[in-house]
Symmetry: C2
Subunit: 360 residues, 2 copies
């Protein structure tokens, strides 16, 4: 990917932050009216109607084409994993990147099922070489241990944000109109918890969950790591989302921040997945508050901190299937609902066209 000097990085990211295309409230309202004329009691398709209106507003198009979906699965290792905060060893990150690219992971299967294009990007795994089909953008093997050091330099965060922006551009060039944020990284639910606590003000105890399935001791280690990470932050850092991302974020999370920002700049819906992808969205929305309007929350994870992050975003997820996998799996499961919502808008008859009597 791109090779820019630090000054260029800063100015390119500044440009990205100023480029948001706010969804059209007028399109949204017209779609709501159009849906009320369809042959059904007003509002009887519930959240599907909201979804059609929201998506149309993001697209600035009263009669959008059926969506085409893309997924960026960004992966990296995390220094904090050395504190045994996961039920799996760090090598699983690289192994799963290869599995995703080879088509055997949950997200591979679900993406095939819904016809979504997948880009797998290695933003910093610890493996020697990457598997075929993986986009390798690594400058370092894993982030720093956020409980005692910065995850990455601000320069690296900026670079990875622009990598993410380029990946979004690539999917949009391929016709994608809605892009899901997927991730893989042993240790990253600890990082998501730290970011969620820092941005929402919630206590470490409230944002830390069992992730891949740690036991009580693992849970205590996660809580301690988050507490230490938060303890290192100065107020100025908490109020500077880029500095915060560099300090207590993750390499794959930086990529996803860039994906979300560029999607929002290009009338492209951003589909959240679980806790980690939503933590990336928190950073992106802290940078550009109205980006919130371009997000579609796909599901509520079993991770308790995810609900806190969603609430901070004022996002009400479509699904609640007790998932806790990540990779973009929940977002892929929500894609058919978005397609269905758009088809309802495009294809349903009106009371007038179908000759159906209206209600009292």
């Amino acid at each position: 990917m791109s090779c820019r000097d630090p000054t260029d990085l800063t100015s390119e990211v500044s440009e990205l932050l100023g480029a948001l295309r706010r969804p059209s409230a007028m399109v949204r309202s017209r779609v709501e009216q159009a849906l009320d004329a369809k042959t059904k009691p007003p509002g009887s398709l519930g959240r599907l109607e909201e979804l059609a209106a929201r998506y149309a507003g993001i697209r600035h198009d009263e009669l959008p084409e059926p969506p085409r979906f893309g997924i960026v699965v960004a992966a990296a290792d995390h220094g904090v994993a050395r504190r045994s905060v996961s039920a799996y060893p760090a090598e699983v990150t690289s192994q799963m990147i290869a599995n995703i690219a080879a088509g055997g992971a949950a997200i591979s299967v679900l993406a095939r099922e819904v016809g979504a294009r997948v880009l797998v990007v290695d933003a910093g795994s610890g493996s020697g070489e990457v598997a075929p089909g993986v986009i390798d953008v690594r400058r370092r093997r894993g982030s720093g241990d956020i409980s005692r050091e910065p995850a990455m330099s601000v320069e690296e965060a900026l670079r990875l944000i622009l990598v993410g922006a380029d990946l979004a551009d690539r999917l949009i060039a391929d016709g994608c109109t809605a892009i899901a944020l997927g991730e893989m990284g042993i240790g990253n639910s600890t990082v998501a918890a730290a970011l969620t606590a820092a941005l929402s003000g919630a206590e470490p105890g409230a944002v830390v969950g069992r992730g891949t399935g740690v036991d009580d001791d693992g849970l205590a280690r996660k809580r301690e790591a988050v507490t230490l990470a938060l303890g290192r932050l100065e107020d100025a850092t908490i109020n500077d989302p880029l500095a915060l991302l560099a300090e207590i974020g993750g390499l794959e999370i930086a990529v996803l921040v860039g994906v979300a920002l560029r999607a929002g700049a290009r009338r492209t819906a951003v589909l959240l997945d679980g806790y980690i992808s939503t933590a990336a969205a928190l950073v992106a929305v802290a940078l550009v508050p109205d980006l919130r309007l371009c997000l579609i929350a796909s599901h509520r994870s079993r991770e308790p901190g995810h609900s806190i992050a969603l609430q901070w975003l004022q996002a009400d997820p479509l699904l609640d299937l007790q998932l806790r996998l990540g990779e973009g799996s929940g977002a892929a499961l929500a894609m058919p609902l978005i397609s269905a919502a758009v088809r309802i808008l495009r294809e349903m008859a009106t009371f007038e066209s179908a000759g159906v009597s209206t209600g009292s």
Copy 2:
């Protein structure tokens, strides 16, 4: 459809009631084990894993083919609609039957989106003739007003149950492995409320909702109609589901009871939709309790009585999208989740096959 004499009807329905194929607990348990070997933390796909295991158990097949979906949309008019219990005039039933068959209704659009086969059956609308593409099985135009008379004779209920069984057979012959219960009928949320109250023991106030959108006066009329209907029932009727169906049911509901019973007899999953289709399932499960194991609850309707009916069935729905439309629309929206669950089971790599390290 078939023309049988009353004795034949009784013996054919008796045979149907004895024909249930119970789902295989062994297949279910083997699928749960197979899912634990896939490259994901155990249980991390949450309800999707339950769904794969449940569907495989119903099919008696540890590695089922991706499901093929059918939908029976049964429609009829209701005498109780003369009490102004709906926001729409009764003529809308016939108009919507035509709209569904012509492809303009919500269920038409959603069925196309998921590739489901739809059978539209007129079990008793008030219209003179039916639209092209509609299966006409009418012997009467609308049911009796349940607040003061039986909805239909027991003989008519038996006949319509066998009509439903034949429709299920037709879909199964076409390859369907999961059949959704859809319906249309102005006034039928009042009938669903009466059935739900009679079978669950809930009070009329708890099972009556706004349906298509009645105002407070309409709600009071619905509650009164349900109270009157329940007041007509003898204890013996409440304990005889066929008599109950004839007394306070609906013509389209009788068809759906037959669809569910035959599907359960043929290793075919039964997808519930909203309140009315679930009321049909209550009757079917009252007749054959283990049929409950063949049901998949697709969504939780905004109608308050639906939650009572689901609880009686011990069914936890997949979606909660604030729908209140019927037609099978919520079931169609849940179909991609079932497909996804089966593909996960079929296509995901195992830790061993993908060379991924297992957890601690």
